[in-house]
């Protein structure tokens, strides 16, 4: 069988492309630290979340300062709001720190998606969804529930305010 030299070249280029794709993902994972959403958040009783008797920070959801460069945000999703996040209580976090969102549901399946970021997870009752991110630029991001959760689903949203670390006010934060 005769194979033209150019065709051999294309075979080689195709293989190279595939190797390139895999290398990209490896770089994203190892170099940049991109992670998948997993079950590291553990389980929790949705009833206890509903009644505020979990014995965890979910009883008083909000931002918790772990240390200077790590904050954890506890969010309870319920029909049809994020606490905090919805209404007059946006989630306020600083730039240049690792922000871990721990989200759980008090009733039904919800979604937790911060618009224009890759932060996007399902919020399952009985589970704690845990995702971490680092915001480099200050700004306000939209927060939406993107799992149909009932009649008012379309109104379930909120916002995340990212403020420069120098201006970040720790007084409202659980230390």
């Amino acid at each position: 069988m005769q194979v033209h030299d150019f065709e051999k070249l294309w075979f080689g280029a195709s293989l190279l492309l595939i190797v390139g794709f895999i290398a990209t993902i490896a770089y994203g994972s190892a170099g940049v630290g991109i992670a998948m959403v997993d079950d590291s958040g553990g389980t929790i009783s949705a009833q206890a979340v509903q009644s505020g008797e979990t014995g965890t920070q979910f009883d008083d959801p909000g931002v918790v300062k772990e240390n200077e460069s790590h904050y954890t945000v506890y969010v309870v999703a319920q029909q049809f709001q994020f606490v905090p996040g919805s209404g007059d209580t946006p989630i306020r976090v600083p730039t240049d720190a690792k922000i871990t969102f721990k989200v759980t549901s008090a009733d039904v399946m919800h979604g937790f998606s911060i618009v224009e970021t890759n932060i996007n997870t399902m919020v399952t009752p009985g589970q704690v969804a845990e995702v971490s991110a680092r915001f480099d630029d200050p700004g306000t991001y939209g927060l939406v529930c993107h799992e149909y959760c009932g009649a008012g689903h379309h109104t379930m949203g909120g916002s995340v305010e990212v403020v420069p670390q120098s201006e970040y006010n720790d007084t409202e934060v659980t230390q």
Binding site: G20, G28, A35, S51, I119, S132, D136, G152, H154
Partner: protein
């Protein structure tokens, strides 16, 4: 549908108020704008609780598709009245927050039954409030603070009873009634109305004719037996007033009832209820003073179904038609002259000619540089998309890092 149901509820509430407290004297109804436009449990009336020192409003009452209502949604009180919102524990977490910069704010939404939030209104005005998580569902309310006494001295509503709406909501009462065509026959101009018992319908003499009729209060309604369809009677659905007694099959038998109170009276024939021998008398109204004869006021938006069905059928059959036509054409064989054949001998078998290809593609036609250029272009395109999607679109955004 929502509007119709609300109108129906309003009408029903008007009837209830009429029955409970007599005619409520008309008073100036507060103007809420469209505040209550999506509030399912607001029936158009403001509950007048003036003259009381303290009133209670349920938070999480049934309504708006679950425990998403304030009950009563609209209430009128005197200045100085203490209003207590009490949580039922239903419908998830609720709070009470004023619209705009009003005074009410119960704080974070909570769901515990028995929680209370109290506010004493000192100034007159209309105070609108809502529940933050469920505002979109219609969990809204209003407190009207006014001087004065309730006009009827009681606890009744202040709605003006007008009777059932133009197109009453019968629920599924008429779902199996073959001779009900969705219209309520208007006989509000007559003092005496007659309904045939045993009219043709529902597969025999098993119908009331007309099945649904509207009359004014005080009208004498006579049911007259046709003698068809066996023995019939006229009995109210539930604990309504109609009862003609034992079933009768005699032609010309009569049963008469005079309707004094507004409402929707559903009735049926006991032996033939299952085949759809049911009816309704609507007394009063229609709501809004319409004189459209009880016809449905919703526009008729049905379109004939046959064009769509025919198009789909045609789409399915088109390949078949094409196949049939092609086959026809092929079955006309070229070249064999029937006259040359000898009787009794089989037709000679002719083999198809080996046809030469019209154009032969040899290696000389292969253009390596042109193909190479095309392939190279595709590679560049893919590489660009790859870089853009992964490094710009994906890694360029705030990413999940753990």
């Amino acid at each position: 549908m929502g509007v119709r149901r609300r109108e129906f509820v309003r009408g029903a509430a008007g009837v209830a108020a009429l029955a409970a407290t007599g005619v409520a004297t008309a008073q100036e109804e507060p103007d809420y704008g469209d505040w209550f436009s999506n509030v399912g449990n607001y029936d158009g009336t403001t509950v007048d609780r003036r003259g009381e020192d303290s009133i209670e409003i349920a938070v999480g009452a049934q309504g708006n598709g679950g425990g998403f209502a304030f009950d009563p949604p609209a209430v009128m009180v005197n200045p100085g009245t203490e209003v207590v919102w009490r949580w039922t524990g239903d419908g998830g977490t609720h709070n009470v927050v004023s619209e705009g910069d009003g005074p009410l704010d119960s704080g974070d939404a909570v769901d515990e039954a028995g929680k209370e939030y109290t506010y004493t209104f000192e100034e007159t005005g209309t105070f609108k409030y809502y529940c933050v998580p469920h505002e979109s569902l219609g969990m809204k309310g209003a407190v009207v603070v006014r001087e004065g006494e309730p006009s009827d001295g009681g606890d009744g509503g202040t709605g003006t009873p007008q009777g059932p709406p133009a197109n009453p909501d019968y629920g599924d009462w008429f779902s199996n009634v073959g001779n009900f065509d969705g219209t309520t026959v208007d006989r509000t101009d007559q003092d005496a109305v007659e309904i045939a018992v045993g009219a043709q319908g529902n597969g025999g003499g098993f119908a009331f004719d007309p099945p649904a009729v509207r009359v004014t209060p005080g009208t004498e309604v006579t049911w007259r037996w046709t003698g068809d369809g066996g023995a019939h009677n006229v009995v109210s659905n539930g604990d309504g007033p109609l009862d003609s007694g034992e079933t009768v099959d005699q032609e010309g038998a009569e049963y008469t009832y005079t309707f004094e109170e507004m409402g929707v009276y559903e009735y049926y024939c006991v032996p033939h209820e299952a085949v759809g021998m049911k009816g309704a008398v609507v007394v009063g109204g229609p709501l809004g003073g319409g004189d459209d004869g009880g016809q449905a006021d919703a526009p008729d938006i049905t379109v004939p179904g046959w064009p769509a069905s025919a198009s789909v059928l045609l789409a399915f059959l088109a390949p078949l038609l094409y196949a049939v036509v092609s086959r026809r054409r092929q079955q006309t064989p070229p070249g064999v002259d029937e006259s040359e054949r000898v009787e009794g001998e089989p037709a000679p078998v002719t083999e198809a000619d080996e046809t030469e290809p019209a154009v032969e593609v040899g290696h000389d036609e292969y253009d390596p540089w042109g193909t190479a250029a095309l392939v190279a272009f595709y590679f560049v395109l893919i590489a660009l998309l790859w870089v853009f999607m992964y490094f710009v679109e994906f890694l360029g955004r705030v990413s999940v890092i753990g």
